[in-house]
Amino acid sequence: MSGPLLEVRGLAKHFQGLRAVDDVSFDVARGELIGLIGPNGAGKTTLFNCIAGAIARTTGDVEFGGRSIAGLDPGRIARLGIARTYQNLRIFPDITVFDNVSAGAIGRVGVSLLGTLVPQLGRRRDEAIAEAALAALERFDLLAFADQPAGNLAYGQKKQLEIARALALQPTLLLLDEPAAGLNDTETGELATRLRALRDAGLTILLVEHDMPMVMRICDRIVVLDSGRKIADGVPASIRANAAVRAAYLGDEP
Amino acid sequence: MIDTFVLSQLAIGVSVGMTYSIVAIGLTLIYRVLSAVNFAHGEAYTLGAFTTLIAATSLKLPLWAIVPLTLLVGAAFGWGVERAAFRPFRKFTDEASLKSRAVREATLLSSFALGLVVREVLDRIYHGEWLAIPQQYLLSSPLSFGGINLSVGELAIGIVSLVMLASLQFMLHRTRTGIAIRAVSSNLVGAQFSGIDINRVVVAVFIVGSLLGAVAGMVVSLAYGNVQSYMGLTVVIKAFVAMVIGGLTSLPGAVIAGILIGVAESTAGIFLPSAWTEMVAYGMLLLTLLFLPQGLFTRRRA
């Protein structure tokens, strides 16, 4: 059980001549909160998609808890314990908040047709699903909105909902793609606090972000990508001082 | 030596297949621009045939006058279908909205419903019967080329189809409308940035497609001599099969696939009773959807 939770080895993704991800390797240890940063187009979301199985990698390997997950389909990977959110916010707007979150819980616990038709057979699963969903909602202060259509929520709340839904999966590793995008300062602060609390509770988190102050504040380590390649990997202080990183951002203050 | 009967059947198969090809082109053009299927398209074919019928029986027009009349009816119908069944669902013309799943499904159903209404109205008016075109208009005199037996009509179908294909090629490559259509089909965003009006291109595509369909209906009715309100439905389903087998977005693919279906049907007709030859097209569709979702001639998108 020792060893890194996630190992990315020489991962590459080519799109017809464009090297979106080019020979990227890094580790994520259990209980770490890792930030993945880089200028626009650096390949961060593509990297996420490869890890989560949404797209097929060109070469390289990804090991999760010691086993190779490269090439597995996204459903399998999710059930193994990796949950993700999306950069462009993909919740289900026409169904209720509770139903959104329970979708994640269902993914882990599973549903069966037989268990649905015969209530006695499915009761235990149903309770487990409801428990996980409620716990996730409570954690994100969304319980009051449980019966509303998810589309009615404010943008910031929708972002929270997406994370809550991913958490309902009770994952071991959480991949967050720009969770702070579009949030105001207060909301970003709340998010940062929540993420740290989750990390403290034992969850491993890998986070793509553009909000530098937040990343510097809460991440244990930061991995920097530029044009598909990893150019830096270390604690926030070292990244802040790293000339290559500054050059990549063209002088932007990290 | 191959049996001349078989050769004749093949020739007929090619000819019938070209009918499917012409109708398939209309479907493919629309699919390329909207990623949607127009299930009222078969009625353009039916209306072309009915226009011919009415022109021959009631209006007693000469053959050369029937052609422009059919073109007019076809164009008007295409415009009407677009207006009634497609435009109401098109609120925005950016790519995501234009081709969203909700819009595609809604227009599938609305065009299906519209086609149903047109068919039923014709059915009510003409009592569902097969109606004959007066003898003097028919192109049914037999021809013979070295043992291959065809009728003038069947040959005419082939020739007219080739003429229409050539005209289409000309239009697509040499006229502004045609170039706009091609631009929108291959790169919607780019075309919009160039100032092309998407709505006008959509209307143009419907008009052109329905024109072709109507002419096909006209020629077939003259070749085989009868007309019925449901004739377009059977043809459009086979044209749809041709579109899928042809790769969904490839015009040459649709043409070749249409001919393939026609040939397959007439070949099957040598061995099977005619009722079962209907299934050939459906069988080909299911096989294609199961094993070759890309169709046989995929056109690489820009």
Binding site: G107, L113, I129, E131 | M279, L286, P293
Partner: protein, 329 residues
């Protein structure tokens, strides 16, 4: 919220099992009784299609395939082998399920409109087969002389008994459909419908659930077909044309996609509307084309939307932790 304490399902069962027969006995005719049965079967068909089109989000026109499979299975078995009603229904369900599972497995990966057209091709192929495979199906003449429903050694006779058989069947089918729609299983199906890729990334078994729903829809529709064969005692290829599928689909859309109460309403409308317009003549197809068109354009969510239906039956979702901790409305 105590108004919703009125047990809607019990009320509906009461209407079906007590109120309607009473009304029919009081002022009806055999014709009206037959009509009531047709309405009940229509409700089952619409509900079953709604599982597929609404909850699972797969537009389909294959109702007649499984309806016909069920009907012909029952007809062929009962006339040639004298098997009992329940055996016939069971066989019909089994056959429809097996074929449904195969078709579902093969077709489910197609994107929406191609799935729809594939089901259309299936329906037309089925009709052509039934029409031309005379040795098995007696072709265009249809299958006559199907024995009436025989349960527990008693042949159903008279409109009242016949009505009750259909009503009980309808309630059982609705119960099954209700449990599927208003459960976490239904929730999973809806999530897959909304965003398949996202649902997959949440660990939902998208393909499995879709195939299961397709098979269930096939099974229920097949059972309805078997019942129809026995209660009508005659079936013919004309009962299974693509138009009938389109009719059921229209019922689903008009009633409300994804909504079971909507499907019930849609089924009722589908049967009663042409009855009401009987004076205008045989314009059934035309009216339905127009109704379908107008529905899609102006009332896309139907008469009783899914959102309302889900809210209505929210109590049927698992209770204990939920009821304990949810805040008072």
């Amino acid at each position: 919220m105590s108004r919703h304490r009125v047990p809607i399902r019990l009320a509906f069962a009461f209407v079906l099992l007590a109120l309607v027969p009473a009304l029919l006995a009081w002022g009806g005719s055999p014709y009206l009784a037959r009509l009531a049965q047709v309405v009940l079967v229509a409700i089952v068909l619409t509900g079953a299609l709604n599982l597929l089109v609404g909850t699972a989000g797969l537009l389909a026109l294959d109702t007649v395939v499984f309806y016909g499979l069920g009907a012909y299975t029952a007809a062929i078995l009962s006339v040639n082998s004298g098997t009992s009603f329940l055996t016939n229904v069971a066989t019909a369900v089994l056959l429809a399920s097996v074929i449904g599972a195969i078709c579902g497995f093969a077709l489910v990966r197609l994107t929406s409109i191609f799935f729809a057209v594939a089901t259309m091709a299936l329906a037309i192929s089925f009709h052509t087969t039934v029409l031309n495979w005379g040795e098995l199906t007696r072709g265009p003449m249809g299958y006559r002389g199907i024995p009436p429903v025989r349960l527990f050694g008693h042949s159903v006779s008279g409109w009242l008994e016949s009505y009750y058989v259909t009503a009980v069947f309808c309630l059982i089918a609705l119960f099954v459909m209700h449990r599927v729609v208003h459960s976490f299983y239904g929730n999973a199906a809806r999530a897959i419908r909304e965003d398949e890729e996202c649902a997959l990334s949440l660990g939902l078994r998208t393909r499995l659930i879709r195939v299961q729903i397709y098979t269930l829809h096939a099974a229920i529709t097949g059972a309805a077909g078997a019942l129809y064969a026995h209660s009508n005692q005659f079936i013919g290829p004309d009962n299974f044309v693509i138009f009938e599928s389109a009719l059921v689909l229209t019922g689903v859309i008009v009633g409300g996609i994804g909504s079971l109460p909507g499907a019930v309403i849609g089924g009722v409308v589908m049967v009663l509307l042409p009855e009401a317009l009987r004076e205008i003549g045989n314009l059934r197809a035309l009216v339905f084309g127009i109704v379908l068109f107008l529905s899609i354009l102006f009332l896309p969510r139907g008469l009783f939307s899914e959102v309302r239906a889900l809210a209505l039956f929210r109590r049927d979702m698992p209770k204990s932790p939920w009821a304990r901790r949810r805040p008072a409305p």
